[in-house]
């Protein structure tokens, strides 16, 4: 096997052009996936690339570099629309995992249970891809992750950043994770919700659910139903909504039926948390 740790993006892209490499970012999915026996893949370590580090803000985007860890997401000051992403970050594995694991790696790994997916879907995120031949392209996240462990990454391409368009950063947001223990837990289901209000009227809504389909889904029908209604209508709207976007399966973490019921409940909770402050909901902090 070969190993390369380029220090310039151009160099990395040229290497990627020559042959397939396994990209190594935080390594928190990479190492556990190694089977018994020696490493067979060629490894391209992107941790030497300064271009991929950090969070920057442009006029129309918040740009999360591909090397940005969950811990950096939590520490970086961002508008309340990102609270759901920060809450998700806090629930990824443990501090050890958050210090190493990257948001981009989470998306590239394309697990149905990736906690980064629902909040970033609800932020209308785009994935920035680069290759030596084709330069840069931006792909909607919903078109980037195609299935369980399947992405739209083309040969020679590297994910260089995740973009959140400014238009999707309005309002408040919240994330609810449903798991069978307190820490270090893969989600049975998780929901992210973002709503923008005028007074008590919902003018914008974004809701996404993970672990209840091969790829996390925006719940667009519900979003449509919410827009124009009042926050006091949230519970009834969620109860009435069929959640046909979801196609949960049975596994060791929970039954399909349970996921359906649970998803509805956590969608409601995420929406209520985004809509009301804790004090308004009468919850002790």
């Amino acid at each position: 096997m070969d190993y390369a740790r380029p220090t310039e993006l151009e160099e990395a892209l040229l290497l990627l052009k020559q042959k397939p490499w396994t990209v190594l970012a935080g390594g928190t999915d990479f190492y556990p996936a190694l089977g018994a026996g020696p490493l067979k893949q060629d490894v391209l370590d992107i941790n030497g690339l300064p271009e991929l580090a950090g969070i920057t803000e442009t006029d129309d985007h918040v740009v999360i570099g591909a090397r940005t860890s969950w811990t950096e997401i939590m520490r970086h000051p961002l508008p309340p629309a990102f609270d759901m992403l920060k809450q998700a970050a806090r629930e990824v594995g443990s501090i050890q995992i958050q210090n190493r694991g990257t948001v981009a790696g989470n998306l590239c790994n394309a697990s149905p249970a990736a906690d980064g997916m629902p909040p970033l879907l609800a932020l209308d995120a785009r994935v920035e891809l680069r290759s030596a031949d084709e330069g840069q392209r931006l792909v909607r996240l919903s078109e980037f992750v195609l299935g369980n462990r399947k992405t739209a990454l083309r040969p020679g391409e590297l994910v260089t950043a995740v973009h959140v368009p400014r238009h999707a950063t309005a309002g408040r947001s919240s994330f609810v994770k449903l798991g069978a223990r307190r820490y270090l837990i893969i989600s049975i289901a998780m929901a992210a919700a973002r709503i923008a209000l005028e007074g008590e009227r919902i003018v914008e809504a974004a809701v996404a659910v993970g672990s209840c389909s091969a790829v996390a889904q925006r719940i667009e029908g519900l979003e449509q139903a919410l827009i124009g209604r009042y926050i006091s209508n949230i519970s009834e709207l969620v109860v009435d909504y069929p959640l046909s976007e979801l196609s949960p399966i049975d596994d060791v973490r929970g039954s399909a039926e349970y996921r359906r019921l649970g998803a509805r409940e956590i969608v409601e909770r995420a929406l209520l948390q985004a809509a009301f402050t804790d004090a308004e909901r009468g919850v002790a902090a």
Binding site: M1, R5, D45, Q96, A180, Y183, L184, I186
Partner: protein, 915 residues
Amino acid sequence: MSGGSISLSFEVNGRPIVVETAPVQRLSALLRDKVGLTGTKVGCDAGDCGACSVLVDGEVVCACLVPASDVAGRRVRTVEGLSNGRLSALQQSFLRHGAAQCGICTPGLLVTASALLDENPAPSEAEVQDALGGVLCRCTGYRKIVQAVMNANRPVAVESGTIAPRAAVGASPIRLDGERKVTGREIFGADERPSDALSVLVVRSPFWHATFEIGDREAFIAAHPGIVGVFTAADIPGENRFGVIPPFADQPALAEGRARFRGEAVALIAGERDAIEALDPASFPIAWTELPYCLTTEEARTPGAKLVHEGRPDNILTQGLVESGVPEAGLARAKAIVEGSMETSYVEHAYIEPEAGYAMVDGDTLVIKACTQAPFMDRDDTAKVLGLPPEKVRIVPLATGGGFGSKLDVSLQPLIGLVALKTGRPAALVYSRGDSMRSTTKRHPARMQARIGADAQGRITGMIFEGDFNTGAYASWGPTVANRVPVHASGPYRTPNYRAVGRAIHTNGPISGAFRGFGVPQATIMQETLYDRLAGKLGMDRLEFRLVNALSDGDRTTCGQELHGVGIRQCLEQLRPHWERALADAESFNKESFKTRRGIGVASCWYGCGNTALPNPSTIRVGISRDGAVVLHQGAVDIGQGSNTVIAQICADASGLPLSAFTLLGGDTGITPDAGKTSASRQTFISGKAAEKAGRALRETILRFANVSDAAEISLEGTVLVIREGQAVRHVSLDNLPADAHGYAFSAEETYDPPTTALDGKGQGKPYAVYGYGAQIVELEVDMRLGTVRLLKITAAHDVGRAINPILAEGQIEGGIAQGIGLALMEEYVPGRTENLHDYLIPTIGDVPPIETILVEVPDPEGPFGAKGLGEHVLIPTAPAILNAIRHASGAEIEKVPATPSRVLAAIQAAGRKP
């Protein structure tokens, strides 16, 4: 791992170093194997356990997920760097609080907590939990860890200091082996390896049931430089059958042409370390033919089902029965009867240390240094398999990073022993997490039914219990489970008319063996949940109902044994005020809350200490050397539970010598007599009693020598033994005395075997000499919409007879409760599916609520200083108390554990209680 080699410079614990390494080598392997810092532990190689936590530039990471190349030019801090010359405040706090049991998780916890304390010197409980959520501990139940971290920087009121002679029992000295554990100096199975050792790779069956043929070994060896040999069943010189219970021994060290479960060892590949690490296991020439298999007891008992072992008809390994009175008539007389069934899952021991060790030939003796719970059993089984006389095998236990029953059976011992014998070179093996989970024993999954009846006053009139226990492919401890369960299935309650049957059934599933409680925790879930329903039917308070039936002194058990020193009533009475307070709290909470409901549950336990109706001796030797050292041959292996400290405390007080004078030798079969296995909650009672006898005998020998009475006090001043009686003082120069047969100036060796009798055809007799008792209350909240359960508090009252070391006893209780929580709420080993700590869930630091421990001391007439066993008792009440609290909160009647959110929500709906 390769990718060429780089020269890497970085700083470790303030010291700059340069090493050659493959760039993607895991930092954990680099630190352990190349830098020699074995304080950083490896429990999973997958980020799931946190044992490998280190700081890189001050940030905590799992070293098993960090490529070596990433630390170039950076600062790494490991547990070895936490103390500079003297222990840090945090390390001292861990010792004081008893926050380390086996100690395998301790380095990772210390490193992680030190990062927290650097930023936040006085963290809250929630902050400690958030910070330590990524480090698993299977022993302690975390509560003492939380306390140790919160109080690390607070001033210490009293240092425990030296303990006066004859005051060790009942005190809580810092565990004698504690310092090694908090500094990373403790040597566990994987921490020592001779430089010329071969590595061993075990080829295992990927199928539940299959025959296999091994291809051309010579060609395989020739094609793989550095591979030294391939060994199969045909190479085994002795009898290829081992098993913890000799009459049932049935497991081959290497399968003979047919593998009966997934993970069974079929061949060994031995080679140089690099060659084994570079070897692709798929290149091994082996052809498999899959055979039909069964995984559940139902399948295995279907008429015509394929037999897992010829000669064990109906796939029944063995069956235990206890019958007394006339059960049907008793039930017929009842005012109320309840009936139900309960199913439990495979539970994995999930100690943080996978099996590890090495073997080497020393002269004509095969020496095996590995983690273990039972050195003499390892010795005898290994010798038998390898065709050696037992005295030609020497087992030197290395520190054991948790055992809980699974490290009673041999695992790698005969395998590495075979390679060492065949090659003449040391042979080392460290199980991967996956191999550990696939190949070692589990808790028996059980399918149980029971009927229990009571009269109008709430007195039990009869009980009938039946349970099938899935014992997997080989016998292991299946017979013990089948026999222990019927003895205990009544709970510590008077049950005049009783019949209980326990069957151990073979399947092609993982081998079920010993796991804290030998089937009793499962049976207690059945009985105690039915008790709640019965109390409900009778309209009685659930705690009072238990008190009505609690066994008392002079009562007879269902085996007809008359009991003395029975403390269950006292335990329940101690819980009563907590029960009343908790019920009132729940009631007022539930008045206002509908989506979240509070519930309270209670359950009891009793548990016989030691083997069931079988001989079970321990021998302890203690000597005073001619240079003035008091040497305790402490063969009761300390797997974290604290026998090194407890046995020494007992021996110290029995001898009248101060505890601080004692030096310990471990359970090395070459130098220490057999103190039996660390199982069945027997060490404090049986080895403790042997230690008490040995201590007394040593004292008597000295008193006789000095010609003084038992009122005399003995102390040591250098090599002089000082004996005072009243005004008279005698000085005995030890170095002038001749050495006795054991090489000591004075020594004593005593054996204790508890008085038990065999059980007759109806299970009548005296199966155990001592029982321990306990009861626990669980307070929790159920999320009625999600089926999730949040534990609020557990109050545990345990009758330990005499708390030899209260802090260690509390540590056992908290650790047992944590495992009970896992059994009740999350642990479900699905063979072939959850063979890692990612999918197999054990409680984290955030899953164990505050625990209030009440130590009840009803002295046992037989135990040393009145002490009873405790180690297994502690997890028995937790799971049923949780299920009872869930039912109280939500109406949900759980019929299969773990009570995952999915199952709880389904049961809430079945009860028609969804809000």
